[in-house]
C-alpha cells in the first residue's frame, strides 16, 4: 500500500538563511528512511515540506508519480505523527482516531469498524472513551500512531516521535513502530537525532548537517564506510585522529600524528599520498587492538592509558596519544586490566579505518 516519495533538489530558505539545501532522495514504496542529524540541521523543515506545511523555495516533491509540490497539506493524504503527539485534548481517543475518517465523510458504521481496528492495531482496544489527558505518554503515542494510520495513508511521517518517552519504553516503541510499518507496507520518513534509533529502525538513513544531506546509505554502510568526518563522528562512537602521510612501507602506510608520533597501518587505502596534506583517520573503538608490547613487525601508535571504564559486556579504555592529550577510545574485553599511566600500543585495522582529506568544509 506504500507509495514512493521523491525529493528532487529541494531548497528552503528563511529570509536568506538556507535551512535545507539541495535535498535529493528517492524513497522506495514501503521503505523506512530516517533523517538523522543534530538539532537545527533542517530535518523538521524537510519533513514539513513533504507534509505540505511548508512550500519549498525551489525543487519538487513527488508522491508516487504525482508532483505534489503545490498540493495543500490537507489533500496530500499523508499520515503524520507529531513530536508531542498533537492529540486533540477535547476529543476522546475514539473521536481523535475517527477525525480523519469524518473529514473524509465515511459512513458511521465504517468509521466505527475502522477505528476499532486501529485501536486493536496499537493494543488500546478498551481505551476509546478516554480523553488524551487520562492516558500515559506511551498510550498517547499509540493513539497518535493509530490516528495517523487509520485512513491508510501511503506515506507516514514521524518527527522525533519517541523523544518524550523514557529509554525502555522508547526501545519498545521503536520495535512496534518498525513492525507496524513493515506489516502495513507503508513508506516511512522518520526524523530523529538519535543515531542508535536511526540505525536500528531504518532501511536507509539520510544524515543531515547544516541543511545538507551528507550521506544516504543503509545502516551497515553508514557505520562501516562513513562518507565524511561528520558522518563518522555523528554515527556511533568514532576516533578521529589528525595525521599526515609519511611513506609506504612493508608494514603498510606510515603516518605521523600532529604530535610527531609515527605509526603504520596495514592495508590502509591512501588515495592521495601527499605528505603536505593534513588528513584524518577514523577508527571505531572496536576495530583497534590494544596491547602492552608491540609484537608486530610494523610501527604501532604508542600511548598512555588514561582511564578504564567498565561497561558490562566490555571495557572502554581511554588512551592518550601525543602531547596534546588527544584521547583515543579502544574497546577491549570486559576484564582487561590496564592501569592509568601504563604504556600501551594501538594497532589499527586498515580495512576498517577510513581516511579523510582534511578539507576546510568538514566539521
Amino acid at each position: 500500500m506504500g507509495q514512493s516519495v521523491e525529493i528532487k533538489d529541494v531548497w528552503k530558505s528563511f529570509g536568506g538563511f538556507d535551512a535545507v539545501r539541495s535535498a535529493t532522495v528517492k524513497i522506495q514504496a514501503g521503505e523506512f528512511l530516517s533523517l538523522l542529524g543534530p538539532s537545527g540541521s533542517g530535518k523538521s523543515t524537510l519533513l514539513m515540506m513533504v507534509a505540505g506545511f511548508l512550500q519549498p523555495t525551489s525543487g519538487k516533491i513527488l508522491i508516487g508519480d504525482e508532483d505534489v509540490t503545490a498540493v495543500p497539506a490537507n489533500r496530500r493524504g499523508i499520515g503524520m505523527v507529531f513530536q508531542k503527539y498533537a492529540l486533540f485534548p477535547h476529543m476522546t481517543v475514539f473521536e481523535n482516531i475517527a477525525f480523519p475518517l469524518k473529514m473524509r465523510k465515511l459512513r458511521r458504521s465504517e468509521i466505527e469498524s475502522r477505528v476499532g481496528q486501529a485501536l486493536d492495531l496499537v493494543k488500546l482496544r478498551d481505551l476509546g472513551s478516554r480523553l488524551p489527558i487520562q492516558l500515559s505518554g506511551g498510550q498517547q503515542q499509540r493513539v497518535a500512531v493509530a490516528r495517523a494510520l487509520v485512513f491508510e495513508p501511503p506515506v507516514l511521517l514521524m518527527d522525533e516521535p519517541l523523544g518524550a518517552l523514557d529509554k525502555k519504553l522508547r526501545e519498545e516503541m521503536q520495535f512496534e513502530i518498525k513492525n507496524l510499518q513493515q506489516s502495513l507496507g507503508v513508506t516511512m520518513v522518520y526524523v530523529t537525532h538519535d543515531q542508535e534509533e536511526a540505525l536500528t529502525m531504518s532501511d536507509r538513513v539520510a544524515v543531515m548537517n547544516h541543511g545538507e544531506m551528507q550521506q544516504i546509505a543503509d545502516p551497515k554502510t553508514l557505520y562501516r564506510e562513513p562518507g565524511s568526518p561528520f558522518v563518522a563522528d555523528f554515527v556511533g562512537k568514532m576516533n578521529l585522529i589528525e595525521v599526515t602521510y609519511v611513506d609506504q612501507t612493508a608494514s603498510g602506510a606510515l603516518l605521523k600524528t600532529a604530535g610527531g608520533n609515527r605509526f603504520s597501518i596495514q592495508n590502509l587505502a591512501v588515495s592521495t599520498p601527499d605528505p603536505e596534506r593534513p588528513m584524518k583517520i577514523a577508527a571505531r573503538p572496536e576495530t583497534i587492538a590494544l596491547s602492552r608490547r608491540n609484537e608486530t613487525s610494523g610501527t604501532l601508535l604508542e600511548g598512555t592509558i588514561h582511564q578504564c571504564v567498565f561497561m558490562g559486556s566490555m571495557t572502554m579504555v581511554q588512551v592518550i596519544v601525543g602531547p596534546e592529550d588527544e584521547v583515543v577510545y579502544v574497546q577491549t574485553e570486559a576484564d582487561a586490566s590496564y592501569k592509568p599511566g601504563e604504556v600501551a600500543y594501538l594497532e589499527f585495522d586498515g580495512s576498517r579505518t577510513s581516511l579523510f582529506a582534511h578539507g576546510p568544509d568538514e566539521n
Binding site: F53, N74, R75, F82, K84, P89, F99, L131, I133, F151
Partner: protein, 293 residues
C-alpha cells in the same frame, strides 16, 4: 483579568517562599481597608433595604410590583446580553487576528485594543457623544452621503447605549479569548489540517472548541460588568434606555431614598450572582475543560 496561564507554577512557589505569618501581615492592611471602605457600606446599604421602623419587605414589594422597575431590570438584562453577544462577535475575530498575525502587526492590533482600554471610560463615553450627537460626525457623514436629509436621533437611545457599552467592554472579552487562543499548541491545527480538514473545519472542530474557556470567561466578565454599568448608559442613554445602575444612582443622589436604592441593589446583586453561578455550572459540565488543556 483572568488570562489563563499554561502552567500556574507561580502560586506554589510563593507559598514556599513566604510563610503564613508573612502573607497575613501583608494582606491584613488591605483586608482592613476593604472591610471599612467597601464591605461595611455595602452591607449597610443592603441591610438598610430591609428596615423602615423595624423589619419590612415593602421596598422589595415596590421594586417587584411597580412595572417601571421590573421593566428596567429586564431591559438591563437584555442590554447586557446584547452587549455580550456583540462584544463576542466583534471581539473574537480581533482576538484571533492578534493571535495569528506576525510580530509588528499583532502589536499594532493589540495596541488598538489596549490604548482605549487604558483611557478613562468617561473620556470614551464622551467621545461617543461627540460622534453620535445631532450635528456629530456620523450624522454629518450620513447627510453628506445623502443617506438621510434630516439628522438621525442616535444619541440618548438604546442603540447608543449598546454601541458605546460594547466598545467600552470589548477589551474584557478580547483579552481572555486571546489568552485562550495563545495557549493552543500550534501543532493541533496543523495535525487537523494534515488529517484532511479544510481550514474552516480546522477552526470549528479544533481552534474554536479549545478557545471556549476564554470565550466563557470573557463573556461572563463582560456580562457582569454590563449588568452594573453606570457611566456610559448614564451619559449616552436616555429615559427610554434607563438601566439598573443609573436607577440606583438616581435613588441615592436625587430621590435620596436609600432603603429603596438598597433594595434595587440587592436585586441586581442576586440576579448577577445567580446568572454567574448558572454560567459556571454550564462551563463545568462542558467536557474536558474542568480537566484543563
Amino acid at each position: 483579568m483572568s488570562i489563563k496561564e499554561p502552567h500556574n507554577a507561580g502560586r506554589s512557589d510563593s507559598r514556599i517562599l513566604y510563610g503564613a505569618g508573612m502573607s497575613w501581615s501583608l494582606i491584613l492592611p488591605w483586608l482592613g481597608l476593604l472591610v471599612v471602605g467597601f464591605a461595611y457600606p455595602v452591607f449597610k446599604l443592603l441591610s438598610g433595604s430591609f428596615f423602615d421602623d423595624g423589619f419590612t419587605l415593602v421596598h422589595y414589594q415596590r421594586a417587584v410590583t411597580e412595572p417601571l422597575y421590573t421593566a428596567v431590570l429586564l431591559r438591563t438584562l437584555r442590554i447586557a446580553l446584547i452587549v455580550t453577544v456583540c462584544a463576542l462577535l466583534v471581539g473574537y475575530p480581533i482576538a484571533y487576528a492578534i493571535s495569528k498575525l506576525v510580530r509588528p502587526w499583532s502589536m499594532v492590533v493589540a495596541a488598538c485594543v489596549l490604548i482605549p482600554f487604558w483611557t478613562s471610560i468617561l473620556v470614551r463615553s464622551y467621545a461617543w457623544i461627540v460622534l453620535l450627537q445631532r450635528k456629530g460626525l456620523i450624522n454629518t457623514l450620513l447627510i453628506d452621503l445623502g443617506v438621510t436629509s434630516e439628522p438621525l436621533r442616535l444619541l440618548y437611545t438604546e442603540f447608543a447605549v449598546i454601541l458605546a457599552m460594547t466598545h467600552v467592554l470589548l477589551p474584557f472579552l478580547i483579552l481572555p479569548v486571546y489568552g485562550a487562543l495563545k495557549t493552543i499548541p500550534a501543532d493541533l491545527p496543523m495535525a487537523a489540517y494534515n488529517l484532511g480538514a479544510t481550514p474552516i473545519k480546522v477552526f470549528w472542530k479544533v481552534v474554536f472548541p479549545l478557545s471556549l474557556p476564554g470565550v466563557f470567561a470573557g463573556c461572563l466578565i463582560t456580562f457582569i460588568l454590563a449588568l452594573g454599568f453606570y457611566i456610559t448608559p448614564a451619559l449616552v442613554g436616555g429615559p427610554n434606555s434607563l438601566m439598573m445602575a443609573t436607577l440606583i444612582g438616581q435613588q441615592t443622589t436625587q430621590v435620596l431614598n436609600w432603603p429603596f436604592a438598597g433594595a434595587l441593589a440587592t436585586i441586581l446583586l442576586i440576579t448577577t450572582v445567580v446568572l454567574a453561578v448558572m454560567f459556571r455550572t454550564l462551563l463545568a459540565k462542558n467536557r474536558g475543560f474542568s480537566s484543563g488543556i
